[in-house]
Amino acid sequence: MFEQYYPIAVLVLLATVLSIIVVFLSRIMGPRRPTPKKSAPYESGMSPIGPAVRRLPIKFYLVAVLFILFDIEVIFLLPYATLVRELGVYGLIATGIFVFILTIGLVYEWKKGALDWE
């Protein structure tokens, strides 16, 4: 039963061996003359100063959560849009219920003041 997977196994083996060879070849054969500028993570970018994780306002977290809510709505509506004629009334009702439930969420967050920035 596993015979059909042999080509994949060969591919995995080849990819592993090849990438190891390439990495070591460049290390062995290439000239290495490092300067501080060259060793920087981004040679022509901003100089990395200070911690990588900055503090940001917690408000963004709320925005991100609310964004996910409507992101999901779009994810569901897009496939529905491509099949809207085939799905007919059934699809319309089902999607209607879904959007209605999401609207309840919108009303709730609005009333709770989650959309006020200040």
Binding site: I104, Y108, K112
Partner: protein
């Protein structure tokens, strides 16, 4: 394209769920209009919704007793006696959950309408869990059950313990869910379907997909084992039970556990009968470990909520023993009957015990030590008597539902011993650990009656009602278990 028709969706079969779901959505918006000082209106409205579902369930009991089972949503869910019985347990638990919070939330300054709405949502999750006939539905229901509970356990947010409980529960719960999803993926990879009956057809004992499917089944066990707090997936239980607001603990120790067991039984018995001896052995080992750890660690607890958390781990072990006994198909209906009977008995007893814990707890969240029960025997004789009954029932003493539940569980396991001798060892562990458990349960009774203390307790009408109802239920199950057990046994999967 073949579209589902209204008959195949079969909305009437899932009417109780629909009532609560619709009501929860309405209540969420309605709660916005209720002023801050009148949040108990939301509670009463939530009760109305739950009672509506209870009425619908009442009519369904007769219907399904005649017809057996019905599929809904194109076979994604199956409504049968098993799910109806458990739905009754869930709705009752939710009603108690509302009643317990009625006075607790304002007393502790954490009254918000969302409590009741979230409670309704998690109840829907449990109800759908009990009727899931497809692994996707199991997953969705599990998330619907879990996510509101994560929030509810952090409901007393200004207390650090509650915050810790919510975060711990959320992180570990999400981790366990990922195991479940991976298990579903492997099972799907092995069998090409997520429908439980389809999996059963695809898995025969000599099938080539067996290794993949068996691993998938194991991962499903991990995900669900977390929900029912089985060793070794129990680590979250003590901290979460102790940190969460006590009504939430009461609700979750009963509801989430029963929901997990509902899905566990559905998945194992319906989808994997071909590898029953594999999962039977696994579950039996887990059951033995769970009983040992829960009962032994509970001895050293001084906090009542923590003690009840370990006790809930221990009881998960007893129920798992009956689940393991369901591996033999000729034995399955008795074993499943034992599981749902035990779940009902445990629900009544545990809710009652937590009600007493709520009455004794002080407004700042202290007063949850077992020593705080000192003197209750004199100041609150009736409450102390009820608590003594609950503790005896959890131990498994006569005239209580706990004893009958344990007898059925052990009987189911002994019937299955010819198929799996390991079960005999686990039964012996079960009996011995029951004796061990008497030590810490009876300690509570001893403290209440034999030790001098203030014995302060606040017992409003709602708590009194719950206390009387649960004590009555525990007694009825202990004295005349026959009718309920027959119903439970008829609740077998069809």
């Amino acid at each position: 394209m073949q579209l589902p028709i209204l008959e195949s969706i079969n909305l009437m079969a899932v009417l109780p769920v629909l009532i609560i779901a619709g009501w929860a959505c309405v209540l969420l918006v309605f709660d916005l209009l209720i002023p801050r000082s009148r949040k108990h209106w939301t509670a009463w409205l939530a009760l109305v919704g739950l009672l509506g579902a209870a009425v619908a369930l009442f009519f369904q009991i007769g219907h399904f007793a005649r017809l057996g089972s019905e599929a809904a949503f194109d076979g994604m869910v199956t409504v049968d006696g098993f799910s109806i019985f458990l739905q009754v347990v869930f709705v009752l638990t939710a009603i108690v959950g509302v009643l317990l919070a009625l006075d607790y939330l304002p007393r502790h300054g954490i009254e918000r309408g969302e409590y009741y709405v979230l409670l309704l949502f998690t109840t829907i999750g449990m109800m759908i869990m009990s009727m899931a006939a497809d692994l996707i539905v199991v997953f969705v229901a599990l998330e619907l059950l879990s996510i509101p509970l994560y929030i509810l356990s952090g409901f007393a947010g200004m207390r650090e313990t509650s915050e810790e409980a919510a975060l711990k529960y959320f992180l570990l719960g999400a981790f366990a869910s990922s195991f479940l999803v991976y298990g579903i993926a492997l099972t799907y990879g092995g069998t090409g379907t997520t429908r439980l009956t389809g999996i059963a057809q695809a898995v025969t004992s000599d099938a080539l997909n067996l290794p993949l499917t068996t691993v998938g089944m194991g991962l499903l066990l991990v995900g669900l084992g977390f929900k029912v707090a089985a060793v070794p997936f129990h680590m979250w239980t003590p901290d979460v039970y102790q940190g969460a607001p006590t009504p939430v603990t009461a609700f979750m120790s009963v509801g989430a556990k029963a929901g997990g067991f509902a899905a566990l039984i559905r998945v194992l018995v319906t989808a994997f009968p071909a590898i029953a001896s594999e999962w039977g052995t696994l579950i039996a080992v887990i059951a033995g470990l769970t009983m040992l750890l829960g009962n032994i660690v509970a001895i050293s607890q001084s906090n009542i909520k923590r003690m009840l958390a370990y006790s809930s781990i221990a009881h998960a072990g007893y129920i798992l023993l009956a689940v393991a006994a369901a591996q033999r198909s000729e034995n399955a209906s008795f074993a499943i009957g034992a599981v749902v009977f035990y779940l009902l008995a445990y629900a009544l007893t545990n809710l009652g015990a937590f009600t007493v814990a709520i009455a004794v707890e002080r407004d700042d969240g202290t007063g949850t030590e077992i020593d705080d029960f000192a003197g209750l025997g004199k100041t609150r004789p009736w409450m102390a008597l009820a608590m003594a009954l609950f503790m005896l029932s959890l131990t498994g003493m006569p005239i209580s539902g706990g004893l009958v539940g344990k007898v059925f569980v052990f009987q189911a396991a002994l019937q299955a011993v010819p198929g799996d001798p390991l079960l005999l060892a686990v039964v012996i562990i079960g009996v011995l650990t029951s004796v061990v458990s008497a030590f810490y349960y009876l300690k509570v009774i001893m403290v209440m009656y034999m030790r001098e203390g203030e014995g302060k307790a606040v017992l409003p009408l709602a708590l009194k009602t719950v206390l009387a109802a649960t004590a009555f239920g525990t007694l009825v199950l202990g004295i005349i278990p026959g009718p309920v057990f027959q119903m439970a046994q008829r609740a077998m999967l069809k």
